[in-house]
């Protein structure tokens, strides 16, 4: 448990959490420990050269320090610690001041604004997304920007309802579970649970309002291969990984946004299922990085961002039940981290100043060469 008093204001608690995080990172072995520094942009005005591709991985089911970067949690993320962090700039203190629901929070990450709509409603974000900024400003086609989303609730995350942007400029959203749910094939039911938030064992089903045929056409996916793969996996996030790898190999889009969701099984209150999901997520992140290193279209040309949308409740908050939910709004549930790697991004570097989750969009926009006109975040200067 983190030794941070519970009655401190949010920012002060978050700062103390960051100090704890830095300490955790310093417990790593080998070169990573030796080379950790606190980064600062300094006075240089030299422009960096970024990757022409960007991949953003969000965890739509936050994980806490205790199960990730704290000494007792490092066992669950061996690949992120040993393979990814040495190649990354790592922000120890990313605060999400918005609504702690996965869809609305991910929409906030994509718009750079704290969105305020009902998390459980099928609603487009109010503010323009990074997908729209990029496609409009750079005149990119639909097949160049993809979102791989975990559940029906995310189906409208690709484009906002903003008057100046909207669906025609949004990302193509693929819901791997929906692709798998065609017909009466019951073999995949264990992979099709739509949400972990409630009793909702609502199995995901095809939304008639979605143009799935268009998505499948753009995706150029062999459903036979996809189903064969699905028979041999145990988790929905592995479906998302499959789609991501397929896209990278076959379409090589410039922008891919993947929301992983397995970790949210924590809502069932079973610690073992939660930590298993973190281990799986760690493996999936590493496999994505291996693919970046392998695929010629992406090798040395890709900016990768990994961040949970937010954390989970602290053990010491009496109004919550520890890791199980994210309903208290306490500092631990609002404070998380961000990992960035790619050409032009410092390696083996930690940044401890507080930043906000909405800072992702202006940072990405600068890398992608578009203008995030309505974003409320501020660019992460250490990356730019």
């Amino acid at each position: 448990m983190l030794d941070v008093p519970v009655n401190l204001p949010l920012l002060e608690r978050a700062t103390q959490l960051a100090i704890s995080r830095r300490r955790f990172l310093r417990t790593l072995t080998g070169a990573a420990t030796a080379n950790l520094v606190v980064a600062s942009r300094g006075s240089t005005t030299m422009r960096r050269s970024y990757g022409s591709k960007s991949i953003i991985v969000t965890f739509g089911g936050g994980a806490r320090d205790q199960e990730t970067f704290a000494p007792e949690g490092q066992q669950y993320i061996p690949r992120i610690l040993t393979e990814l962090i040495p190649r990354s700039t790592f922000y120890t203190q990313v605060i999400n001041r918005g609504i702690l629901g996965h869809y609305v929070a991910n929409a906030g990450l994509a718009t750079g604004c704290y969105e305020s709509f009902n998390n459980f409603a099928s609603i487009q974000p109010t503010n323009p997304t990074i997908f729209e900024y990029y496609r409009q400003d750079r005149r990119r086609p639909a097949e160049d920007v993809w979102v791989i989303a975990p559940s029906n609730g995310f189906s409208r995350i690709g484009a906002s309802s903003h008057y100046a942007y909207g669906s025609s400029r949004g990302a193509t959203v693929v819901l791997p579970k929906q692709l798998l749910s065609v017909g009466d094939d019951h073999r995949f039911e264990s992979l099709l649970r739509d949400s972990y938030e409630g009793p909702a064992s609502n199995l995901i089903s095809r939304d008639p309002r979605r143009d799935n045929e268009m998505v499948e056409r753009l995706l150029r996916l062999s459903m036979t291969d996809f189903k064969d793969h699905a028979r041999n996996i145990s988790s929905p996030d592995e479906l998302s990984l499959y789609i991501a790898l397929h896209l990278m190999r076959n379409l090589a889009p410039s922008l891919i946004w993947i929301t992983l969701h397995d970790i949210d099984i924590a809502h069932a209150g079973a610690f073992s299922l939660y930590t298993e999901a973190i281990e799986r997520t760690d493996r999936i992140c590493a496999e994505l990085v291996h693919a970046l290193d392998r695929e010629p279209e992406y090798k040395d040309r890709t900016n990768l961002f990994i961040l949970p949308d937010f954390g989970r409740d602290a053990d010491d908050d009496a109004s919550g039940n520890g890791f199980q939910h994210h309903r208290t709004g306490d500092a631990l549930s609002r404070t998380t981290w961000l990992l960035a790697m790619g050409p032009g991004i410092r390696k083996n570097t930690t940044v401890d100043r507080p930043v906000e989750s909405i800072d992702l969009v202006p940072t990405l926009a600068q890398m992608l060469g578009c203008e995030p006109r309505f974003s409320q975040g501020r660019p992460l200067t250490e990356l730019l």
Partner: protein
């Protein structure tokens, strides 16, 4: 603390004892900030089905607020007035549940949850004072069994608890369960108020029925869970019935809406069971999370003198609406990991009760991975290789 003279319209259909209590404190409730009034009215509406300890606490809270307030109390209470409110604030008194649901959603929407947290944390100091004033000195004892059916793991157990107590590496657990029950039964014979002694089990009940001990067994509640699942399934066929609406629906359920309760459970217990199964929208339905959540709620609400909880293997599938036999295989080793953190959470919740320093807490692994004892006579962070039994540990803690 009457801040206004005009009486508000209170909920029209309160149970009899709750109605009397609300009427008695009508002036106070009418004068409170809406959020606080609604929170207290929801508590009052549950009064008829409350455990004695929580009844006393609610009465104490109302008396505390009715008395001439100190400047600090006045400041804390008035701070609730600065919270942003949704439209129809008057519903706080007439329809407190609906009001609080709307208020919570509104808080998230206007990004004011931190302000709410600060108010609630400050109000916690009033509750602490009430608890202290009401506290009757009594030593409390909690024993947790875990690891039933699990292999002896190379993963160390009790990593969170060990730093607070003594770890017994060589424990003979063969008679531990019987000993724990005998010790509890002996304590229960002293004839304290109802619901002072509890047994909660995640597996098939092995404890004999007892009139002195409140018992909650996960498998016994399967018929109730089945009826609940049927109701939820039916609700979910309604268009636009998303997780939030399902959750709201489940919060309205009462024992009369369900069936299949064990005969030994009285009305208070049945209300408690419904709360346990419906809180968190039914996500506490695995055997391990049921035991952990029940223990937490028993500690918070009933404030028992003794509690014996026993975790058991759980099914792998976390979805309570899915009952296909293929998904019902048991996972004892996963349950051991769940129970390990469950034991730690139980200790955290125990520590929140008054006089925590004198409490005896023992967690014992049935798969041969030792035991940890926290409380009087137990050194923090100590490890002993000396052979021990649960009976012996209890003796050491009691002398």
């Amino acid at each position: 603390m009457s801040l206004t003279t005009s009486f508000r319209e209170l909920p029209s259909q309160l149970p009899p004892l709750a109605d009397t209590l609300a009427a008695k404190h009508r002036a106070l409730l009418s004068g409170l900030p809406p959020v606080l009034a609604a929170s207290l009215l929801i508590e009052i509406s549950r009064y008829d089905w409350m455990f004695p300890a929580e009844r006393k606490e609610l009465e104490g809270q109302l008396q505390f607020l009715s008395a001439t307030p100190t400047a600090e109390t006045q400041r804390i209470v008035l701070s609730f007035r600065s919270l942003p409110l949704p439209a129809e604030a008057s519903a706080a008194w007439s329809h407190p549940k609906l009001f609080l649901q709307a208020f919570t959603a509104h808080l998230w929407q206007v990004h004011a949850t931190e302000q709410w947290r600060q108010c609630a944390e400050a109000y916690g100091s009033i509750l602490d004072q009430v608890r202290k004033d009401l506290f009757v000195s009594a030593s409390r004892s909690v024993v947790v069994f875990l690891g039933q059916g699990a292999n002896k793991s190379t993963r160390p157990l009790f990593s969170q608890l060990r730093k607070h107590g003594t770890y017994f590496a060589q424990i003979d657990h063969t008679a531990a369960l019987d000993d724990a029950r005998a010790i509890q039964e002996k304590r229960a014979l002293k004839g304290e108020q109802p619901y002072a002694h509890w047994q909660i089990e995640g597996g098939k009940p092995t404890a004999p029925p007892s009139t002195r001990i409140s018992q909650l067994f996960y498998p016994e509640l399967k018929p109730v869970r089945d009826v609940l699942a049927q109701l939820v399934r039916k609700e979910m066929t309604i268009a636009e019935m998303g997780p939030e609406k399902v959750r709201s629906y489940m919060m309205t359920l009462e024992p009369a809406d369900l069936s299949g309760f064990p005969e030994h459970q009285d009305t208070v217990m049945r209300h408690f069971v419904v709360n346990i199964l419906c809180d968190g929208s039914g996500t506490q339905n695995l055997s391990t999370s049921f035991v952990q959540w029940s223990a937490r709620e028993v500690l918070r609400r009933a404030q028992p003198t003794t509690m014996l909880i026993r975790f058991a293997p759980r099914v792998r599938n976390a979805d309570f609406l899915d009952v296909r036999p293929t998904n019902l295989a048991l996972d004892a080793n996963g349950a051991l990991i769940d129970a390990d953190i469950g034991a730690y959470y139980t200790w955290l919740n125990l520590r929140r009760l008054p006089n925590a320093a004198t409490t005896q807490f023992i967690a014992i692994a049935e798969n041969g991975q030792g035991a940890v004892a926290i409380g009087p006579g137990m050194s923090a962070g100590a490890i002993t290789q000396s052979p021990a039994t649960l009976k012996k540990i209890v003796e050491w803690m009691s002398t």
